[in-house]
């Protein structure tokens, strides 16, 4: 349980961090909370030569609104997101999702940017990012670029980030008054990771008709995915009809090869995803906004 030897750098600005990463592209890792990386290093499964700690960079942890968008700094901790009164009001999916992550120690140290860059197949944030159609701002030596959540998660632990790029910010359109959201999760009893996690974001008209739906599911496949089958089955339908919700939720894992492990078989995961998709949709209605 002792890591292999490594160097440790604490840049004070994101530009310094990018420069350091560019010089050590193959054997450096970014430390952004470290609740996945440090355990892997202690088991010597990961042996980076250099850790670049983003913790000293002052202007990377924030939640603010600007031009109709919610902006979240990459180093904002899960706890900061969970306890933000502003967010609970404007975008409750984010606070619900943050509150469901791991335990309090993980939430105090772990960051949203770290979680997204790691892209664990059972992490909670990817589902929420997909449902909210978030934009992920990455910075590298050739400048900044914006990646849509739909394009960001590529495969198991694989994102659209290039080597040498660091997540700087997450941008989300501020939900309007007809938005309804919920995050519903089955946590693994030991790790707290999502066996299945479902993030639902709906636009609902005054007479409970679903105008648009976007639903992200994590924990089931090699990466989080949009449940497009459920989305199209809900669009234009009344949400106060139990049958509609059940039928739509049955499409939760269409076209997905579900993971199996010692805790949950593939069939069980698919079943859980369907049940919890239905529950999440029902909760969006009872949640209000």
């Amino acid at each position: 349980m002792i890591t292999a030897q490594f160097d440790y750098a604490t840049p004070n600005t994101i530009a310094e961090a990018v420069a350091l990463l560019a010089q050590n592209r193959d054997d450096a890792k970014i430390l952004a909370g470290g609740h996945s990386l440090i355990p892997a290093m202690k088991l010597r499964l990961a042996q980076p030569q250099l850790l670049i700690d983003l913790g000293r960079i002052k202007d990377l942890a924030y939640i603010r609104e600007e031009g109709g968008k919610i902006l979240i700094g990459a180093m904002t901790t899960h706890y900061q997101l969970e306890s933000s009164a502003g967010l609970r009001d404007s975008c409750p999916l984010l606070t619900e999702c943050a509150a469901s992550i791991g335990d309090v120690q993980v939430r105090n140290k772990g960051t949203i940017g770290g979680s997204l860059a790691h892209s664990d197949p059972a992490a909670d944030w990817p589902a929420a990012m997909l449902a909210l159609r978030a934009e992920i701002v990455a910075i590298g030596s050739s400048g900044e670029r914006v990646i849509n959540a739909d394009d960001f998660f590529v495969d198991l632990f694989t994102t659209a980030l290039h080597p040498g790029e660091i997540i700087r910010e997450i941008r989300i359109d501020r939900p309007n008054s007809s938005s309804r959201q919920a995050y519903q999760k089955v946590p693994h009893p030991a790790s707290g990771f999502a066996v299945v996690g479902v993030a639902v974001s709906l636009q609902v008209s005054g007479d409970a008709i679903c105008e648009t739906a976007s639903i992200g599911i994590t924990g089931v496949g090699a990466k989080a995915f949009r449940a497009t089958g459920v989305e199209s089955a809900l669009t234009g339908k009344p949400l106060d009809d139990e049958q509609t919700i059940t039928l739509a939720a049955a499409h939760a894992c269409d076209g997905i090869e579900a993971n199996a492990d010692l805790y949950a078989s593939a069939d069980y995961r698919v079943h859980l995803a369907q049940i919890h998709t239905a529950r999440a949709i029902r909760r969006t209605i009872s949640n209000g906004k």
Binding site: K29, S36, L37, P39, A40, L43, R44, L45, A46, Q47, P48, H118, S119, P121, A122, D151, D155, L156, F157, T158, F193, G221, A222, E257, N259, A260, D261, L262, Y263
Partner: protein, 176 residues
């Protein structure tokens, strides 16, 4: 852990079988394979440097081909040991003629042990699936090129393909 799947490859069954038993082709197709040397009749020694995310490891092992019935079947026996753990497995590959394409069915049983198995159990199957996809994507590129032509450059192909599909998506988005 059971691993199974099918991949359709756009080449004749004879050509696919030839690729699947050629050390040079296999070396280029196995993700992270640094060395694949023939040490006996249908026995190879290999070094694979591979990983997902921040977890990386080097595996040394042997690959043996058994029960060979060209061009339809062989059995693969793999044994490997590395920094993150060890693995042992057997798998059957069956090739089926399907008009101009070939369907490769694989089914096997793999035992994984050591650190990687005790802490990474929930990731094993998804990792195996990802690597199988990478392998067969590369194999298809190999099978499509003529026997004597220079081998395709997988890294370049993949990068170009990714770039092109990203570009297409962006174009469609800007028109929508």
């Amino acid at each position: 852990m059971k691993i199974e799947g099918t991949h359709e490859i756009n080449a004749s069954r004879e050509r696919v079988y030839e690729c699947l038993t050629n050390a040079g082709v296999l070396k280029r197709c196995i993700p992270g394979c640094e060395r694949l040397e023939k040490t006996g009749e249908n026995v190879f020694a290999t070094t694979i440097r591979t990983g997902v995310g921040s977890i990386k490891g080097v595996f040394n092992g042997t690959v043996r081909l058994e029960d060979m019935r060209p061009p339809e079947h062989y059995r693969l026996v793999v044994e490997g040991k590395g920094t993150p753990g060890f693995l042992k497995g057997t798998g059957d590959l069956d090739l089926e003629d399907h008009g101009k394409t070939t369907i490769v069915r694989y089914a096997g049983e793999v035992q994984v042990g050591g650190t990687i198995a005790s802490v990474g159990q929930r990731m094993l199957q998804a990792t195996a699936r990802m690597m199988a996809t990478q392998f067969f994507t590369a194999l298809e590129a190999e099978a499509k090129t003529a026997k004597d032509a220079p081998p395709p450059k997988h890294g370049f192909f993949r990068t170009a393909l990714r770039w092109f599909s990203g570009w297409l998506r962006r174009m469609f988005r800007s028109f929508a």
